[in-house]
């Protein structure tokens, strides 16, 4: 009789030290998951868009691999097809990706081993910070031993992005045009996945309140302050949630 293999938590909780390479492989294996599937679906939808706007396969793949954050990818695709200049495009893309900075900041204390982890390792790992991997990391990394988190995250990020990279190429080559309903359903996958998993990743009441304020402020700032709307949503919604829950936790001082 063989012992059934269980890829879930239990084996992560063993006390014996496990080398980083093994953790990287475990991260890569954990990437066979719902978030990877949903991200793939989103990029399959994107491949159709890229083809319609006239990007070549090489350009589409360079964008996917190098930028690795779907909103910025979409902005850059629009800029390439309309012949926008280098500087205005860089500014537009930079505005679309400011959100990656607070996300990376929040992740750092989680994956860093004080005094041991080198900055270059963190810089490499940071390339995989995008909403999907971030939400997954915030939810699952706290369950792992500290030394395991960085290799696990890199393994996870590498394997999700290579898989998405290949699937984007296949979709670009094979899918002429998706039926309307399929394309529409693919677009809805991402926000609903974020909605559920962001709630699941919340650890404190502050996180949950911040999620609610963000949901409410997002559309408001989008209408009244387009361009920097996400940054304002984060700063205003997040600060409000922080102050509100802090007063609740500690009183007015």
């Amino acid at each position: 009789m063989t012992v059934p293999e269980r890829p879930e938590r239990p084996e992560f909780l063993t006390d014996t030290p496990v080398p980083g390479r093994i953790w990287m492989l475990r991260g890569a294996r954990a990437a066979i998951s719902i978030p990877a599937f949903i991200l793939t679906a989103a990029f399959v939808g994107y491949a159709g868009l890229a083809r319609e706007t006239g990007l070549t396969l090489a350009e589409t793949l360079a964008l996917t691999g190098l930028v690795w954050a779907l909103p910025s990818v979409v902005v850059l695709t629009g800029a390439l097809s309309s012949g926008m200049g280098l500087l205005p495009t860089a500014i537009a893309v930079a505005l679309a990706s400011v959100r990656l900075m607070p996300m990376t900041m929040a992740l750092m204390p989680l994956i860093k081993v004080p005094g041991k982890t080198r900055n270059w390792q963190l810089l490499i790992a940071s390339h995989f910070v995008a909403v999907t991997a971030w939400v997954y990391a915030m939810k699952h990394l706290p369950d792992l031993p500290r030394e395991a988190r960085l290799p696990f995250f890199v393994g996870f990020g590498c394997s999700v992005s290579s898989f998405v990279f290949c699937m984007t190429a296949i979709a670009y080559l094979l899918v002429e045009r998706l039926p309307d309903m399929v394309a529409g359903a693919l677009v809805l996958l991402t926000p609903v996945y974020f909605l559920c998993s962001l709630w699941g990743a919340a650890r404190l009441n502050a996180d949950r309140v911040a999620m609610i304020t963000g949901l409410a402020f997002g559309p408001l700032f989008f209408i009244y302050l387009p361009g920097l709307d996400l940054l304002w949503t984060g700063l205003a919604g997040g600060t409000l949630a922080y102050i509100g829950t802090r007063i609740h936790r500690r009183g007015l001082l």
Partner: protein, 120 residues
């Protein structure tokens, strides 16, 4: 040498992708690494940073639902909101199983969409 403007050359899109795409995006990640390196895991500052990041991602969510790109924009706004709300409720009923939430929302959207197509 021919007088092709650089924006017409084969390599120009790749310069755009490298500078305006890769650099303009990754620079925020690098800044995040340096700024986040000094945060303490149990500190108040980190709680605030996490609130900001969470609210920001939540803003992405509501934008994607209220102002979607492409064909989804043709569906009525109430259908998208109802589908997302249905999915989120199913997620709770199923003891926070993400897959249940996602599939329920999709089923709701497609049923509603088909029904509207039949009626309209």
């Amino acid at each position: 040498m021919t007088d092709v403007p650089i924006s017409q050359t084969w390599w120009w899109p790749f310069v755009m992708i490298l500078v305006a795409g890769w650099f303009a995006t990754d620079v925020w990640r690098w800044l995040g690494v340096f700024a986040g390196g000094r945060l303490r895991e149990d500190g108040e500052l980190l709680i605030w940073v996490r609130c900001v990041a969470t609210a920001l991602v939540a803003g992405v969510i509501s934008k994607l639902i209220l102002f979607p790109q492409g064909v989804l924009a043709e569906t009525p706004i109430w259908l998208r909101l109802a589908a997302a709300g249905f999915g989120f409720s199913a997620f709770f009923v199923a003891r926070q199983k993400v897959l249940v939430g996602v599939l329920s929302a999709e089923a709701f959207l497609l049923c509603g969409w088909l029904a509207l197509d039949k009626l309209g």
